[in-house]
Symmetry: C2
Subunit: 217 residues, 2 copies
């Protein structure tokens, strides 16, 4: 990864990192990314799933997708992921904050043409989303691979930012009667809802009930 | 709001809407936005909190923020929010999907100079994040308002997209032995963590314990 002013951490540099391992850790904890690009001078931000392998992010979608058709031409793009870990509730409005982990990634994408590499990239996306799923499902056939565009997005430069901990109030505000602290937030799976046409006798697999380490109720 | 090709729903138009009420509903259900803009031709996507009032989004941050200093010049921007409601697990890899609600908003921002309007806008942001909080905390003073940039972002055009429901498999795949269904996901508050210096006798207020309708454990 290179280092330019794009990832220079001007604001609160103590919260930031341009280390590859830190960026990867944030990317791997998330499954939703927001992709930014320009179309005729207009910025767009589009949510999408992704997978990561080394310094490559895989993006996919319909071959008809306007976003993918633009990105595959190699235009500059930005992929950002954010995980909200909690609300930081201070005694003053000004000191309110958020505990979070985010990664802002710059790079360019290229279309994967080879069907085997496409299928592999899709397996990385599925496994990034829900580990253990790929082995259980029917793999994409030739027709499906043709209908799917898969891009490899090379991370050229990236930064991660993390805030943790409680509120920091001005000294004179600590005597105020307001409750202060952190309200932790996390994405939690609910009870899996079986498909209406699920055949009898198929149990909920562990990769669903134990999604990302959580026990679904 | 205007209607141009920016919000034309090319892919799966049945999932989309350009109705103001639908866009507002998605914006109000979320508290984190991803803001897209160009700096010297490079797209950036930056996460931020926001508030909504009518067709205006309020954004705020340090007066030193590069993003805000660019946005206040009135450059084209895109504000996107996404709520993930569940993983749609099909019998084939190709049919996997996500239940979600998203809004993609185009517009331009302007700096709010008047201190009273700034303070009001900040109250909208705080109340958007956690309703009931503003009344309990110390309001921003003159110095804090000076150190804060607050922008009003006018929604010029927007679209919302929603996917709900279970997987849709190819007919011949229904006999496969894979578990299929939806794994619901939601952002859930954990147990509030009081600040280390919280004065004795201050109880957790309802706006924290009942955050967005959930009972914190």
């Amino acid at each position: 990864m290179t280092l330019t002013d794009r990832t220079q951490l001007h604001r609160r540099p103590q919260r930031g990192s341009r280390e590859e391992a830190d960026v990867h850790a944030v990317l791997d904890a998330a499954f939703l990314a927001h992709v930014g690009f320009n179309m005729d001078g207009q910025p767009f931000v589009i949510p999408t799933l992704f997978g990561r392998e080394g310094n490559t992010l895989y993006l996919h979608g319909s071959a008809a997708s306007r976003m993918l058709r633009l990105l595959e031409t190699g235009v500059a793009a930005c992929v950002t992921v954010t995980l909200v870990d909690g609300l930081v509730l201070a005694r003053s409005a000004f000191r309110h904050s958020m505990n979070y982990r985010s990664a802002v990634v710059f790079g360019t994408a290229r279309k994967i043409e080879d069907p085997d590499r496409k299928s592999h990239a899709l397996s990385v996306v599925v496994e990034h989303l829900i580990r253990g799923r790929w082995a259980d499902v029917r793999k994409p056939n030739v027709q499906e691979l043709k209908a799917t565009t898969v891009l490899e997005f090379t991370i050229e430069e990236a930064s991660a930012k993390v805030r943790t901990g409680g509120p920091v109030d001005d000294e004179e505000d600590y005597s105020l009667p307001a409750w202060a602290g952190v309200l932790p937030l996390s994405i939690v799976p609910g009870t899996p809802v079986p498909d209406e046409r699920l055949a009898a006798g198929i149990e909920i697999p562990q990769h669903v009930s134990r999604f990302r380490g959580s026990a679904a109720e």
